[in-house]
Symmetry: C2
Subunit: 160 residues, 2 copies
């Protein structure tokens, strides 16, 4: 029925906002998963490293950033630490907690993933005219920050 590699961009009917965004999110996520996978990283691991690029949170704070349970964090950090990507440093002020930091190796890794991911996304977005890309960027920012604002959360995987 549907022909694969044929008609260039036939005036496709609109998917609607909800479905469009849903599918777009799947597209982005699977791109990230694929690229991260090339470096033996999962999406969550990558996200964690991304967060640690500019922060040194405690386990608890890290869990908060990722929206994960504390118990999930232990294993997550364990695995990353085993690979030498992050460090657990005992906090000086609270002898119960640790500060999680990214290592040079981890930083290098995540930088590579980020670069390749950026490349990929830029490519996906190519069909849009420059004006639209700008707009899209602004809109995404708007939505994300409004949401973070709602939840009193900080977010941002990759600031600056």
């Amino acid at each position: 029925m549907t022909s694969p590699h044929d008609t260039p961009p036939p005036p496709t009917e609109d998917l609607g906002l909800v479905d469009g965004l849903a599918q777009l999110s799947f597209l982005v996520q699977s791109a990230l998963a694929e690229i991260a996978g090339q470096y033996d990283l999962s999406v969550v691991q990558t996200r964690m490293l991304g967060i640690l690029r500019d922060r040194e949170p405690t386990m608890n704070q890290l869990g908060h950033h990722l929206g994960l349970d504390k118990s999930s964090i232990t294993g997550l950090v364990d695995r990353a630490q085993r690979r030498g990507l992050v460090t657990r440093t005992p906090s000086t002020v609270d002898r119960r907690s640790f500060q999680v930091s990214i290592t040079d190796a981890g930083r290098q890794l995540v930088e590579q993933v980020a670069a390749q991911f950026a490349e990929r996304i830029e490519r996906c977005v190519e069909p849009l005219p420059a004006t639209d890309r700008k707009r899209l960027s602004r809109m995404a920012t708007r939505i994300v920050t409004a949401d973070a604002h709602d939840h009193g959360i900080d977010l941002r995987t990759d600031p600056r």
Copy 2:
């Protein structure tokens, strides 16, 4: 430092296309995960049910739609079938394969999730003016369909 529920929309600086889309995708995915979770569904299960709303693929085709290995599908369908959400019907033309169909219960479930998800997304998108929402919808569609075109894939979780 950062005040949670204060300043309305202070001229937030742009996150950039890549980061904006990445975070937007996380936002959408976690919304979906949360809502699906209320019905004891995972994102993948929900996605599967969404696909089955308007298709009756074989296990293999289903795996193709989801981008998953055949071996992953068995368990996926098993669990859904155990819950009475889908059915495995032996194919009449190929005695090796089965057609996976959604049951009424499954359809009802996924419809509820979809409705609530739509509601949630609409809400997230509220800060944007109507014109932008239209634009966003078109852009998302454009990107997604261009990508599907590239990969010769069909996609669409929720056609029409």
